[in-house]
């Protein structure tokens, strides 16, 4: 089971990211343990600079903006050690 944490304080993009990950994992039939991290101290502890941030099996793979479905699929199917990280444009400018 892949451990996924979504870091975010609850803005619209954070919610959208969570929904997208859940839906994608379901349609890809990949079991995940999804956790929302909303506490600011914990979020900062991961060292991300923009939210939403995504941590997979302990490694930060994404920070800022809602990830594309393709990226999520990639993360779900890759071996943890070789996950290619990504950043997208920020949620608003």
């Amino acid at each position: 089971m892949i451990d996924i944490k979504v870091l975010g304080t609850g803005c619209a993009n954070c919610k959208a990211t969570i929904q997208l990950i859940e839906a994608t994992a379901k349609s890809e039939h990949v079991p995940i343990a999804l956790e929302k991290v909303e506490d600011m101290q914990s979020i900062i502890g991961y060292g991300v600079l923009s939210t939403p941030g995504i941590v997979i099996d302990g490694k930060v793979v994404h920070a800022g903006g809602v990830p594309t479905r393709d990226k999520i699929v990639g993360w779900l199917h890759e071996e943890p050690a070789s996950i290619a990280a990504s950043t997208d444009s920020g949620c608003c400018s």
Binding site: Y46, V48, L49, G64, S86, C91, C92
Partner: protein, 347 residues
């Protein structure tokens, strides 16, 4: 077909699509006046009446703004894929005041920035050794000099006013950051922030194909234009109303150059609680200018709306002590006031 072929096919498709889109936009832009005239003719309203005047203003300005907005926001979306908060932090860390402030202000324009990420960003930057003053130059320039404000100013007021806003906005950001840095208020950052363990910089490597960059631009357009288009159309509507119905002398007496010293501070104060309406404000501002409002006052108002944002200061309260927030707001407000007064006097 292997992956590389797929990718380059996608890239080519995007490239062709963009060239076509650029052509379409150019043709549409060049035909704005005939299009507006056509729409007005369809309404059978005499263009020489006030209603006709207001309508022709609307039919011309609304499409123009939307066209320019979409184009510029798209380009910014693509630029954002080249710059990330992590890169900006790496560039700014350890920079001394002076050069650091200039770079920070400049980067504030192109770095994707979201108020909801203000805190992680602030802390992450501080931990990487970005000086407080440099940080503030970034924080001031990022929301103020943004592509929505710039494209709308450009669309409605021309490149000179947009250029002025850009240059002055950067100056306020740079100087304010320098002053805050010189005041050495590092101990006005909340204690818990300074007590945080140093977290190593998280490097998130990026791999973007051109298709992904363009897709990102498109998403950016959907997000931003999708959020503000209502405000813009409303704002242009109000602007059209002012244009057609408000007699000239009314505006001159209220916001003109010789109104008295209170008009600039009033404009700055009114701008503080307004933020999400920045896009809609610009058309109103344009109409006011057309009716004799002073450029300095209106520039000050625009800057206050975007740079002094009550919600953002509320968010920053979690990491900054009140006196630093007050200092920050005060210095920026002062800078904006200066801009207002100088322009009212000079122009």
């Amino acid at each position: 077909m292997d992956i590389t072929q797929n990718k380059s096919h996608a890239d080519v498709k995007w490239f062709i699509g963009l060239v076509l889109a650029a052509l379409l936009v150019t043709v549409a832009y060049l035909n704005l006046t005939p299009f507006a005239n056509l729409l007005l003719a369809l309404t059978h309203i005499d263009p020489h009446t006030r209603l006709g005047d207001a309508l022709s203003f609307y039919f011309f300005e609304a499409p123009k703004v939307i066209l320019l907005l979409i184009s510029i926001v798209f380009i910014m979306g693509v630029i954002h894929t080249f710059i990330s908060a992590e890169r900006t932090r790496a560039i700014l860390s350890g920079r001394r005041l002076g050069a650091g402030n200039v770079m920070a202000a400049g980067l504030g324009i192109v770095t994707p920035f979201c108020s909801c990420s203000a805190i992680p960003l602030f802390i992450g930057f501080l931990q990487a050794g970005v000086p407080l003053g440099v940080m503030f130059s970034f924080l001031i320039s990022a929301p103020m000099v943004n592509e929505v404000a710039l494209s709308m100013l450009f669309a409605l007021l021309g490149w000179k006013v947009a250029g002025l806003y850009l240059g002055l906005g950067l100056s306020v950001a740079i100087v304010s950051g320098l002053v805050i840095g010189a005041l050495q208020m590092e101990n006005s950052v909340e204690d818990w922030v300074r007590a945080l363990q140093q977290t190593g910089p998280v490097t998130v490597t990026e791999r973007f194909t051109w298709s992904q960059r363009f897709q990102s631009g498109l998403t950016h357009v959907q997000e931003i234009v999708g959020n503000v288009w209502i405000y813009i159309l409303l704002g242009i509507g109000i602007g059209a109303g002012i244009h057609g119905y408000v007699p000239e002398h009314v505006m001159v007496s209220l916001m003109g150059k010789n109104t008295g010293w209170w008009s600039v501070p009033a404009a700055v104060l009114i701008g503080v609680p307004m933020y999400s309406n920045a896009a809609g404000m610009i058309p109103i501002v344009q109409a006011l200018l057309g009716k004799g409002a002073a450029l300095g006052t209106t520039l000050a108002f625009m800057m206050s709306v975007t740079a002094l944002s009550a919600p953002e200061m509320f968010i920053l309260r979690k990491v900054l002590k009140p006196r630093l927030i007050a200092t920050f707001a005060g210095i920026v407000a002062f800078g904006i006031l200066l801009v207002g007064y100088v322009f009212n006097t000079v122009l």
